[in-house]
């Protein structure tokens, strides 16, 4: 067997790691078989982006983070993601690979809601996790990166909402890669049982400009019949972190999965966001905004695949590209045979702020059913001079006018994020990255 890139972590290491975490046997076995697969499976091949030389294997796998007793102990750059006015009752902060802080509203606990780090979930709710973990949404053996993820998963959370439970307040998770070389291989598993609803928002943060590492994030969202999951994320890894992010949803009958993803990484990034509308009348709204700068290379895929009748999918991708950055935006609306009366809509727009930047919007509709509706709009261009003229004609400076237009362009995701602090943070990140 040829191994193109050898992993610095072997069977023995993984067995020990798994035992050290007191993981159930099934998890250890999954890890070991995934490790084996990772040696033979190819890397994924995102359209028009060559990732064969990207760093997916050099990093520190297990770095603990100090626990904190109170949120006051957090440095300001992390505290900024928390609402000050309204104390967050449902919050997990992961620092490197261990939990620094975790709280959940007692009322939710009493209702059977589980919101905890994935390690604890594996120990305390092994059967429940096993039922969903890399089964319905993402499969371990899709390609080398999913296999690596399964083999080396070292963080993440499990959020479980029982039948008929409606969670009003947003649930928040912060994944803080404090150590510059720590690799966040987070698994986020969200299961919303029948007729439940939940709003979840997460941040991935690091500050490693120079030191190299890699993040491999897999998210699985399962929305059972009639459930509603609103999923918000702001990814904000620094330039040293190469990112693979795979966020996938499975929506059953009458369920809704909403995605609002702020893709603000500074390093090379491959991100795919796929939703399978399995059930009749299921619905997904997938919104992504991204900024590229420097020499950053990014590839974003948003895919909604319709299986259920009368399913409704809407994809929005807005990207701002500056300097010599390049990004590919693939929007895929796929309607399978039998998914009659479905509707697949998508909009991909890229705003170019520099002539050296590259941005591609590739809208793709794949339709294998007659009785459906579908539409797409795509554009790549500069800030509209007529819009600038209009704003400037009210005395607003060119700089400020451009600022307003760019913030407006990225607003669809900003506005949808549930926690005010996260919204404010995303606005600030946008401000910092664009200017």
């Amino acid at each position: 067997m040829t191994v193109e890139v050898s992993l610095p972590y072997d069977k023995e290491y993984i067995s020990q790691f798994s035992q050290g975490q007191n993981e159930p046997e099934w998890m250890k076995n999954l890890r070991l078989s995934a490790l084996e697969k990772s040696e033979s499976l190819p890397l994924p091949k995102p359209d028009k982006t060559n990732i064969s030389k990207w760093n997916f294997t050099e990093f520190d796998h297990h770095v603990t983070g100090e626990r904190i007793e109170s949120l006051d102990e957090l440095p300001v750059e992390i505290k900024d993601f928390l609402d000050e006015e309204k104390e967050q009752q449902n919050l997990v902060i992961q620092r490197n690979h261990t939990v620094a802080y975790g709280t959940i509203d007692q009322k939710l606990k009493d209702q059977g809601v589980i919101f905890t780090d994935i390690g604890t979930a594996l120990r305390e709710h092994s059967e429940l996790v096993e039922k969903y973990y890399m089964n319905d949404a993402v499969h371990m053996d899709e390609h080398r990166l999913t296999a690596l993820h399964a083999a080396l998963m070292n963080g993440g959370i499990f959020l479980y909402v029982p039948k008929n439970v409606q969670i009003e307040d947003p649930i928040q998770a912060i994944f803080w890669q404090e150590n510059p070389k720590a690799s966040l291989i987070n698994h986020i598993l969200v299961v919303a049982e029948e007729n439940s609803s939940v709003t979840y928002v997460e941040n991935h943060i690091s500050h490693n400009k120079e030191e190299k590492t890699s993040a491999n994030i897999v998210t699985e969202v399962i929305a059972k019949d009639g459930a509603k999951v609103s999923f918000g994320a702001v990814d904000n890894f620094e330039a040293g972190t190469t990112v693979y992010a795979n966020r996938r949803g499975v929506a059953y009958r009458d369920s809704v999965i909403e995605w609002a993803l702020g893709q603000m990484n500074e390093g090379d990034t491959v991100s795919e966001n796929i939703t399978h509308l399995i059930g009749d009348n299921s619905h997904s709204n997938a919104k992504t905004v991204a900024i590229g700068r420097g020499k950053q290379k990014q590839n974003f895929t948003a895919n909604i695949t319709h299986f259920g009748k009368g399913s409704d999918g809407y994809i929005l991708q807005h990207g701002v590209m500056k300097d010599k950055a390049s990004a590919i935006f693939n929007g895929i609306g796929k309607i399978e045979h039998g998914a009659s009366k479905s509707n697949a809509e998508q909009e991909s727009r890229v705003l170019m702020l520099s002539s050296d930047a590259r941005g591609d919007a590739n809208p793709i509709l794949l339709i294998d059913e007659d009785d459906v509706t579908a539409g797409h709009a795509a554009s790549v261009g500069r800030v509209d001079p007529i819009q600038l003229y209009y704003l400037m004609s009210r005395g607003i400076s060119k700089f400020e006018a451009e600022r307003l237009i760019i913030h407006g362009f990225l607003a669809p995701v900003v506005n949808q994020l549930p926690v005010e602090a996260v919204k404010r943070q995303l606005k600030q990140v946008i401000e910092r990255k664009v200017y």
């Binding site: 007529i386 819009q387 209009y390 004609s393 009210r394 607003i396 400076s397 407006g408 990225l410």
Partner: protein
């Protein structure tokens, strides 16, 4: 004389190499309302756009002076800050920017740094002006002009006019597409602006608007020039008799700029 003076001198303007304005002369003083009338295609909107600095229009000759300062040498935002305002015929739609945020930025752009309008005062003024214009309050939180009906866009232009309080305003076909009730409301807003200092240039091809806003002077444009000027009675005669008598009087066969 109170207020500012806008002087347009021998203004020639091209768009994509075609000359549209062929020597326009006009002077608007503070306190005066002027109407520029004329059939379609005679250069009225070009005049408005060129004064404000629309990127597609190129001034090839002439001057536009605001209190003696050459406006044509200024950037668009500087023209606005100097006191000019244009209510546009086709205002841009800007997604993601709320009407209210935009308005506040506009108002603050006319104030010194450090002297920005307080949020409370701003909201109070905006609410009062929206009442005058019979506008739904939720329009403040909608994205700028996005999905606005034609009438809503026009009201929104006048709302901006009332909030910014410029020295000289140009209203480009502010009446087009308005029903009679909306027209009255828009006219009410404009009339509320009237004072000794405020000068206004109203571009229209209908006399209708001028039933509600009485101009001090009326000018008729044909072939890219002002061909006739007079008092309010001129617009009434145009309403009654159309433009043919002017064409005959001046020996004009085709009034458009292509002639």
């Amino acid at each position: 004389m109170a207020g500012s003076t806008l002087e347009i001198k021998d203004l020639h303007v091209e768009i994509e190499g075609q000359e549209i304005l062929k020597g326009v002369n006009l002077t608007i003083n503070g306190g005066e309302f002027h109407a520029v009338m004329g059939p379609n295609g005679t250069g009225k909107s070009t005049l408005a756009s060129a004064i404000m600095g629309h990127p597609k229009y190129e001034v090839t000759k002439g001057e536009v002076l605001l209190d003696g300062e050459n406006v044509l040498e200024m950037e668009v935002d500087e023209r606005a800050q100097a006191g000019l305002f244009l209510a546009m015929q086709y205002p841009s739609e800007i997604s993601g920017v709320t009407n209210s945020d935009f308005l506040r930025s506009s108002v603050n752009a006319h104030r010194e740094e450090g002297d920005e309008i307080s949020l409370m005062k701003f909201i109070k003024e905006m609410d009062a002006k929206m009442d005058t214009l019979d506008m739904d309050k939720n329009m403040a939180q909608r994205y700028l002009n996005e999905g606005f009906s034609g009438g809503e866009k026009k009201r929104n232009e006048i709302l901006q006019l009332m909030m910014i309080q410029p020295a000289i305003a140009i209203l480009d076909e502010i009446d087009s597409g308005l029903d009679i009730d909306a027209l009255k409301v828009v006219a009410k807003g404009i009339n509320e602006m009237r004072n000794d200092a405020f000068g206004c240039l109203i571009i229209t091809h209908y006399q209708r608007l001028l039933n509600y806003i009485t101009p001090d002077k009326v000018h008729v444009m044909m072939q890219g020039r002002v061909v006739k000027s007079g008092g309010p009675e001129l617009s009434q005669r145009l309403e009654a008799e159309g433009y043919d008598w002017i064409k005959q009087e001046l020996g004009i066969e085709d009034e458009t700029v292509n002639a």
